[in-house]
C-alpha cells in the first residue's frame, strides 16, 4: 500500500489505514522509532476498541506507537497536528464554512456585557469544562480577536485575547469576591484554553486563505519537556537524581566485567562447603569501577552563569562517583569553590555565595581566558597527572583578548583527559569573539544546553574505557 510519504494533504489513498500509515511516517520524520511491528500493533489495537471515541483512539495509538515519555509528548503534538490538518483539508475540499467566526453582531457588545462574558469564560476555565471552553474560545475570538483585525501572528493574537479577557494564573485580589478570577485560575486549564484559542485562530486563517499553511517540523523547543532545562530547578534536580541512579546502575558491561575476572578463593571455598567441599560455583572478585579525579573550571560571567552554576551543582551531586574533585570558578580571575559546595547543599545558597564571595570579577568584569590559564597553571599545574580529568565550562568568548591557547595546551597535555563544555549551540561557535576552535584542538568539546546533552557528557565522563589518550 503506497502512500505519499507523510503528507495528508496530497492526493493518495484515503481511508483510515492510509491515514494511519501517513501518521506513522510523520512520527518517523520527527525521530520516533516507529517500526513495522508497531504499526501492525496499532492496527491490531484498533480492531479491539471503538474508534468513535477520540480519547480511546488516541490512547490506544499512543500505547503502541510512543514508547517513552518524550516520545509520548511528540506523539501528542504530531497527532493533533496531523488530524487537525486532515480535518481542515477535508473541509477546504468540501468547501464547508463554519459560522463561528462570522458572528459580526457580537462586536457591538456594551462594556457591562463584555464584563459578564469575561466572567463566564473565567468560570468555565476554573471548572475545566472542556466543551464550554471550546465554545467560549470561538466567542472570545469573535468579540476580542478582530478588533484590529489581528496582528497576523497567531501567538501574539492569543496573548492579546488572553489579556483582554483578564485571565491570569496569579490571584487578582483587587477584583470583587464573586469573580472567579480573584483566586487565580488553574495554570493547566489556562494553558488548554490558550491551545483552543490558537486552534480556532488557525482554523479561521485556513478558512480565509482557503488553503493550508505548509507543515512545519517540530522545533527543538516544542519537543523539550514543559520546563526548559534551566528554567525549573525542581525539574533539573529530578534529572540529576535520575542521572545519578543511572550512573550507579550503569551495569557491569560498562565496567568490562568477566574479561579479567579474578577468582575470589576465600569466597569460593566458603561456597563449596554447601556442596561437600567441591567448588561447584566459582566466586569472582567484584570489579570496582574507576573513579576519576576531576578538576572543574567554570565560567561564571553573566552570559553563562545559570548554565555553569547548574553544571557545578550537577557535578557535586555526582560527587560519590569521583575519587577527588576540585572546582574553580572564573571570570577575570580564578577562585576555588570546592568547599562552598561541600558546606552548602542548597542550590540557591551556592549561587549566592559564589556571586558574592568568590571575588572573581576584578576590574572590568569581562572574561579573560589568558589570565585564567596562567593562574590555573600556578594553582594546580603540579597536581595534574595523566589520570586526572579537566573539565572547562565556558563559551570561549574572550572579549577580544588574547586566548593564550599555548597555555591551555600545556594544561591539557599534563591532564589525562580534557573536556570543554560549551553552553552555546554549535551554530554560534567561532562567531564573533568566540575562539573555541583554538582550544578545541587540545580537548574534546561538547555542546551542552539541554539536559539530554548534559547526560551524554556525564556518560562519556564516567565511561572507564576512555583511557588517557596522551
Amino acid at each position: 500500500m503506497a502512500t505519499s510519504p507523510g503528507d495528508p494533504d496530497g492526493p493518495g489513498p484515503t481511508g483510515i489505514a492510509a491515514s494511519l500509515l501517513a501518521l506513522g511516517e510523520q512520527l518517523r520524520e520527527e525521530g520516533i522509532a516507529v517500526g513495522t511491528s508497531e504499526l501492525l500493533d496499532a492496527f491490531a489495537v484498533l480492531r479491539e476498541i471503538p474508534w468513535t471515541s477520540q480519547g480511546d483512539f488516541k490512547e490506544a495509538l499512543a500505547a503502541t506507537l510512543a514508547k517513552s515519555q518524550e516520545d509520548r509528548r511528540v506523539f501528542e503534538l504530531v497527532f493533533d497536528r496531523f488530524f487537525f490538518r486532515a480535518v481542515e483539508m477535508a473541509s477546504v475540499r468540501e468547501g464547508l464554512e463554519s459560522e463561528g467566526a462570522t458572528a459580526g453582531a457580537l462586536e457591538e457588545l456594551s462594556e457591562t456585557e463584555l464584563d459578564a462574558l469575561r466572567m463566564q469564560i473565567a468560570a468555565a476555565i476554573r471548572d475545566g469544562a472542556e466543551g464550554a471552553m471550546r465554545d467560549f474560545a470561538r466567542l472570545a475570538i469573535a468579540t476580542f480577536g478582530q478588533q484590529e483585525k489581528g496582528s497576523g501572528v497567531i501567538g501574539v493574537d492569543v496573548q492579546r485575547i488572553r489579556r483582554a479577557l483578564g485571565l491570569r494564573a496569579e490571584p487578582q485580589p483587587e477584583l470583587p469576591p464573586e469573580d472567579p478570577r480573584r483566586d487565580g485560575l488553574p495554570r493547566e486549564t489556562l494553558r488548554r484554553f490558550e491551545v483552543m484559542l490558537r486552534r480556532e485562530l488557525e482554523r479561521a486563517q485556513v478558512q480565509r486563505a482557503g488553503q493550508l499553511p505548509p507543515a512545519r517540523p517540530l522545533g527543538e523547543l516544542d519537543r523539550a519537556l514543559p520546563s526548559g532545562p534551566l528554567a525549573d530547578l525542581a525539574a533539573v534536580h529530578r534529572v540529576v537524581a535520575q542521572l545519578r541512579r543511572r550512573l550507579a546502575t550503569q551495569g557491569k558491561q560498562a565496567r568490562g566485567h568477566r574479561r579479567h575476572a579474578h577468582v575470589d578463593v576465600r569466597r569460593t571455598m566458603r561456597a563449596s562447603l554447601q556442596t561437600g567441599g567441591v567448588p561447584v560455583e566459582l566466586r569472582y572478585r567484584p570489579r570496582r569501577p574507576r573513579r576519576p579525579e576531576i578538576y572543574v573550571l567554570c565560567d561564571v560571567s553573566t552570559s553563562v552563569t545559570s548554565a555553569s552554576v547548574f553544571f557545578l551543582s550537577v557535578l557535586h551531586a555526582l560527587h560519590d562517583s569521583f575519587r577527588k574533585m576540585r572546582s574553580f570558578v572564573f571570570i577575570e580571575r580564578i577562585s576555588e569553590v570546592t568547599d562552598v559546595f561541600e558546606r552548602e547543599r542548597d542550590f540557591k545558597a551556592v549561587s549566592e555565595r559564589i556571586s558574592s564571595d568568590a571575588g572573581v570579577a576584578d576590574i572590568s568584569g569581562y572574561t579573560d581566558y589568558g589570565r585564567v590559564w596562567s593562574e590555573l597553571i600556578e594553582l594546580i599545574g603540579d597536581d595534574l597527572h595523566p589520570r586526572a580529568t579537566l573539565i572547562v565550562l565556558g563559551d570561549a568568548r574572550t572579549n577580544g583578548r588574547d586566548p593564550r591557547a599555548e597555555l591551555f595546551a600545556q594544561i591539557a597535555v599534563r591532564a589525562g583527559r580534557t573536556f570543554w563544555l560549551n553552553p552555546e549551540p554549535r551554530l554560534y561557535w567561532n562567531y564573533g569573539d568566540s575562539v573555541i576552535a583554538a582550544y578545541e584542538q587540545w580537548c574534546t568539546a561538547f555542546e551542552c544546553w539541554t539536559t539530554a546533552q548534559l547526560e551524554d557528557f556525564v556518560k562519556a565522563l564516567t565511561r572507564p574505557d576512555l583511557a588517557p589518550a596522551r
Binding site: 522509532a33 517500526g35 511491528s37 508497531e38 500493533d41 491490531a44 489495537v45 479491539e48 476498541i49 480519547g55 480511546d56 490512547e59 490506544a60 499512543a62 500505547a63 503502541t64 510512543a66 514508547k67 517513552s68 515519555q69 509520548r72 530547578l233 525542581a234 534536580h237 537524581a241 535520575q242 541512579r245 543511572r246 546502575t249 550503569q250 551495569g251 557491569k252 558491561q253 554447601q274 556442596t275 561437600g276 561447584v280 547543599r345 540557591k348 545558597a349 549566592e352
Partner: protein
C-alpha cells in the same frame, strides 16, 4: 468473580474498581488491550503511583495467580528462569549403584524432578493463566533484558537438556520501570506502553475516599490539595499515593477536624521523609496553611521551623 476476558475497557475499569483500584482511563484501556492482544505492557512512572498495585489489582480482578519477579542488578537466568537442583542431583548420583551406566544416570538427573522453576518458568509452565509482574526491570543488566525477549514474544523457554517449554495459557505480563536507565528498543517494541503519573486532583480524591471512607469530604479534599502542593516543590522524594492514603488514615485516627499549620507540622512526617524536605515543606506549605485561618502560636514539638526564612522568601514557590 469476574468474566474470564473482558470485552471493553469500561468493563476493565469497573472490574478494577471493584477490587479497590481506581484506574485512569488510559490505564483501563491499556490493561484491556493487554488482556485482549496478549502483549506485555511496559508501565513507567515515578515511584509510588501504583504501578505494582496495578498488577496486583489485575490479578485479583481476572482471578488469576500473580507471579512476581523482583529485578535487581546482577539478576541472572538461574534466579529468573530455572536452575538445576544440583544438591539433589549429587545425592542422586551418590545413591546410585556404581555400576549404572552414565547414560542412564544422565537421563535421570536432567529430568523435571531436578528442575527448580523460578518465576518466569513457573509463569509459563502454569496450567492456569497467570499475571506475571516483572518489577523494576530497569534495575537489571542489559543481558537480562535480551534474555527476556524470547520469553516475552514467544512465551517459551529453551532448556538445552530438556527441550522447549512453551506456555499453554497466555499470561498477562506487566513490566514496571522507574526509568532509571533507558530500556532497549527491542524490548520496548514488544510491549504496549503506559505512562502512569501522579493522578489529577479529583482522581486522587476518589482514591483517598475509597481507602479512608470515614474521612470527611472537606478534609479529604484539603488533604489532596496539600499533597498536590507538596509534589510541586523540589523534593528529594515527593509523596506517593500510598502516602496520601496513610496520611488520611493518620488524620482519621487523630480525629483532626481541619488541616491547619499545627496539625500539618505534627503529621507531616507521614508524607515527607527527608530531613531537608521537611524544612522546605514546612516553610512553603505549612505556613501557607495557617495564613488563611487563625495565626496560631507555633507548636514547640513540630519539626524545626527554618530559622532563616529570609533567603527563601525572595523566591517565588513555583
Amino acid at each position: 468473580m469476574s468474566a474470564a476476558t473482558p470485552n471493553s475497557s469500561q468493563q476493565v475499569a469497573e472490574g478494577l474498581r471493584s477490587v479497590g483500584y481506581l484506574p485512569s482511563e488510559s490505564t483501563a484501556l491499556v490493561a484491556f488491550l493487554a488482556t485482549k492482544l496478549g502483549k506485555p505492557v511496559l508501565v513507567e512512572g515515578p515511584a509510588g503511583v501504583g504501578k505494582t498495585e496495578l498488577a496486583k489489582a489485575l490479578a485479583r480482578y481476572l482471578d488469576r495467580e500473580l507471579i512476581r519477579l523482583q529485578c535487581y542488578e546482577g539478576l541472572d537466568e538461574a534466579k529468573a528462569l530455572y536452575e538445576w537442583n544440583y544438591r539433589k542431583q549429587l545425592l542422586r548420583i551418590q545413591a546410585e549403584a556404581s555400576d549404572t551406566g552414565w547414560e542412564a544416570v544422565q537421563q535421570d538427573i536432567f529430568g523435571e524432578e531436578f528442575l527448580l522453576a523460578r518465576p518466569l518458568m513457573s509463569a509459563i509452565a502454569s496450567e492456569q493463566p497467570v499475571v506475571l509482574l516483572i518489577d523494576e526491570i530497569d534495575k537489571t543488566d542489559q543481558e537480562f533484558e535480551a534474555m527476556l525477549l524470547e520469553v516475552l514474544s514467544d512465551f517459551q523457554i529453551s532448556i538445552p537438556e530438556l527441550g522447549r517449554v512453551s506456555s499453554t495459557t497466555h499470561p498477562v505480563v506487566l513490566l514496571t520501570s522507574n526509568n532509571s536507565r533507558e530500556l532497549t528498543e527491542a524490548l520496548k517494541r514488544r510491549c504496549l506502553y503506559l505512562w502512569l503519573d501522579y493522578p489529577a486532583l479529583e482522581h486522587e480524591l476518589e482514591i483517598v475516599k475509597l481507602h479512608a471512607p470515614d474521612l470527611p469530604e472537606t478534609i479529604a479534599r484539603r488533604l489532596v490539595e496539600v499533597v498536590g502542593m507538596v509534589r510541586e516543590l523540589d523534593l528529594k522524594k515527593p509523596p506517593s499515593i500510598a502516602e496520601s492514603i496513610d496520611w488520611a488514615r493518620a488524620l482519621l485516627l487523630l480525629g483532626a477536624r481541619d488541616i491547619d499549620t499545627a496539625t500539618f507540622n505534627q503529621t507531616m512526617s507521614v508524607i515527607v521523609k527527608h530531613r531537608t524536605d521537611m524544612d522546605i515543606v514546612a516553610e512553603r506549605v505549612g505556613l501557607r496553611l495557617g495564613a488563611g485561618a487563625n495565626e496560631p502560636d507555633r507548636d514547640g514539638d513540630g519539626p524545626a521551623q527554618p530559622a532563616a526564612a529570609a533567603p527563601g522568601a525572595q523566591t517565588s514557590p513555583r
